[in-house]
Assembly symmetry: C2
């Protein structure tokens, strides 16, 4: 496959700088948009055709929203930006000397500026074999897989009850109590307690157990302590069992093993979800090795206040893939800093084109928020005022902010309708089970019981 053919250049004008952006998440998309009015040619490369509004992904996983409510084709977001081309392809190599990226399809793209914003993925801490047993939540496919498992668990239990008069315990285990883990645990509890309990005749979904495990001393470790405590209290009120200081040592089909202060325990789990580890996308490593490019322990690229790895001023690393420290603290891997970094890259390119010095990046932190089930949240507000909010006010702020930042008018309306439907009708609009109809470990459980009864009968 050949190299990208450069369009014939006019002799009057110098060649326009080529900016290659890899990743159409918050950071990459914002960088592309920021470059709209500059005399540069932008190529945004993503493996996916869509930008995902990740903060609402857990609502797809828990059957409130449809995938299309929170995803939009990158191509259609940038349709009016004439200096931008969108390529659905995968970057498989970066040659920082030749200033080229190689694509999965075999072609190569030349760049004058490279913007890497490919984010992060799950990390199972060296236990890749846990992934099929305990899916994480990063993509649309992850979300529909979690939805499938959670909804299927209730269906299989009802079936077992009707057909055999007993059912396997409905234990849902969420590993990792960061914002995603807290959101998932709260939402599963909501579903079980409020949304589907009247749909079943033989099981009582409200008797499900939801367990949230974390290795650290408190949930939402990145939040102030009082908000962690409030979040934990809210989760407990929702019936979620919160177990901190519990290190997961094993995940199997239908069970989780964890090491706590009181020793090792094995928990039966009909569905196990993973919200514990995050690892940087492997693209950072393609930039080279230390000392030219340095990484933190999660594989994130350490960048300076111009968002570059020290030796590569034409390469910007943004969003979750970047490790950027401000005031001695690493800024978190969430949407706000990613978008600000995207904006900032455009400012740096503009400065370069104008022959001005590059401005330094500074993260303007407006605060953090996490929802905890129906109508409760915690918010560590830092702007326009400082406050620790919790309960309904925090939740209302969360709803407003998320609707405001959702891309596209249609999505906003659709999300609002789905929320209204969910909150007022106590039912979930997207309760679809698609794909396979089995759960890891379920069959064994089904067969375990009669076998046990037989043993008892033989005694």
């Amino acid at each position: 496959m050949g190299e990208l053919t450069t369009p014939p250049e006019s002799k009057q004008q110098p060649r326009r700088p080529r900016v290659v952006i890899v990743g159409g998440g918050f950071a990459g998309l914002q960088a592309a948009r920021g470059l709209a009015r500059l005399p540069v040619d932008v190529t945004l490369v993503d493996r996916r055709n869509h930008h995902l509004f990740q903060p609402l992904l857990y609502q797809v996983a828990l059957a409130v929203l449809s995938p299309a409510d929170i995803a939009q084709p990158i191509r259609s977001i940038l349709r009016r930006q004439s200096n931008a081309v969108v390529l659905m392809d995968e970057v498989v190599g970066i040659d920082v000397r030749a200033r080229q990226v190689s694509l999965g399809s075999g072609a190569r793209l030349d760049y004058d500026y490279l913007v890497l914003a490919t984010g992060a993925t799950h990390s199972y801490f060296g236990h890749g074999e846990w992934e099929p047993l305990a899916p994480g939540l990063k993509t649309i496919e992850d979300a529909t897989e979690i939805r499938r498992r959670v909804l299927l668990a209730f269906e299989l239990a009802e079936r077992q009850m009707v057909e055999q008069g007993w059912h396997s315990p409905l234990n849902f285990v969420v590993i990792g109590a960061g914002p995603t883990g807290v959101e998932l645990a709260g939402a599963i509890s909501d579903i079980a307690q409020l949304y589907i309990s009247h749909d079943f005749r033989h099981i009582d979904p409200a008797k499900s157990r939801v367990m949230l495990l974390d290795g650290g001393p408190r949930i939402l470790a990145a939040y102030p302590e009082d908000l962690s405590a409030k979040a934990e209290a809210t989760l407990k009120r929702l019936g979620v069992e919160v177990h901190t200081q519990m290190q997961v040592t094993g995940v199997g089909p239908g069970w989780v093993e964890a090491q706590g202060e009181r020793g090792n325990s094995r928990i039966e789990a009909v569905v196990t979800l993973w919200a514990a580890g995050v690892a940087a996308s492997p693209l950072g490593r393609m930039l080279g090795a230390p000392p030219q490019v340095n990484f933190d322990r999660r594989g994130c690229v350490i960048v300076d206040d111009r968002l570059n790895p020290p030796a590569l001023p034409e390469v910007f690393v943004l969003g979750d893939l970047a490790h950027f420290e401000q005031d001695g603290r690493q800024i978190p891997g969430v949407a706000q800093p990613a978008m600000q970094m995207g904006d900032h890259v455009a400012k740096i390119v503009a400065a370069d084109l104008a022959g001005q010095p590059r401005p330094a990046f500074r993260y303007f932190d407006k605060g953090d928020m996490a929802t905890i089930g129906r109508m409760a949240a915690v918010a560590d507000v830092k702007w326009p005022f400082k406050a620790h909010m919790s309960g309904f006010p925090a939740w209302f702020t969360w709803v407003t902010v998320h609707i405001f930042f959702l891309i596209g008018f249609r999505n906003r309306i659709s999300v609002l309708i789905n929320w209204a439907w969910t909150y007022f009708n106590f039912t979930r609009g997207a309760r679809l089970i698609t794909g396979d109809q089995s759960l890891p470990g379920w069959k064994e459980q089904t067969e375990a019981k009669p076998a046990q009864s037989k043993t008892e009968a033989a005694d």
Copy 2:
């Protein structure tokens, strides 16, 4: 696994008849609802957790609607019907002597009445190997797979154009020109011509070719001839190439072979869709063999005017799985007769309980409709007046009827918003590519060209 434990019976009352309904489509669901007020115990068994509003499924395939817009959990539709239990399970055997069905999970259900309404599936006329190459449209998974392929074709062509300066021809081939084939062909043409053309920089989606092939002499063979002709004219105006009298003889990765009046031809196809053959669900065969149970050539169970196979008065076969003739013509496999049959089963059970003779079923035909792309349709209206409609009036009627029959308020609102968005903004709301990122035959095509160029260079 044991048999279903019957609840302890009260001695004063006779046991309530047990009705087992297999299939939660239009027929099965309507039968369940019809039985709501009768003193019977209903168990509805379906492999899926959702009822699907199949007439709008092609709109999921062509990125207008989300799956959840047209699917709803059967369990939640029947949540207020206290005499109904919903089981997500698969029926794997029927014992008409013992009046039992066996389930995939190993259990058995006793019945006094059995209602079989498991519909139909694709038939590849003995060429099962064509299925992965030319998916059909029956389930949500089918629809998202078709969406994936159609959207991906444009993405891959744009990529090829950017990287190599040429692209494989964007030929879409739809095999079978019944209502589904016509809807798919019209909708693909719509997408290519109207909805995505401004999103691409290097390819012109409007130059795609959409080919609709059918073995018969005219499209929409079940419709009056004048409507067939109008539909064909509309399709041609949309740019669809209609080829009748073309028998498909082979389907491969990236191509279709067909035998027409002018001999055999091989068509390059980036996406091939199957809308040609329908075969009855295999459940009919589980009822036994002729002469006790008779089948037509598609495997449908031939039923009398009480909807029974002649020798089995306690077994009803409904919807697409049934072959029912009225006035010398088989009634079609669409939603209207299916729902009427469902209603009728409830009437028959009520008559039995009251000791009255069973009423005969008569299909009340209100007419048929098929859409053909944006704002055009044909309608063979038979009630409340007789008319052959086409163009916008037929399309408007189609929209009204389909919104009216959609189950659930939320779905109606959501579908209306999506339609409004699509029609007024010329963009599609659900343009998601999920799953795998390859197309059958695409890689070979990509590699074919450079190889060819090399040969030319060597000459």
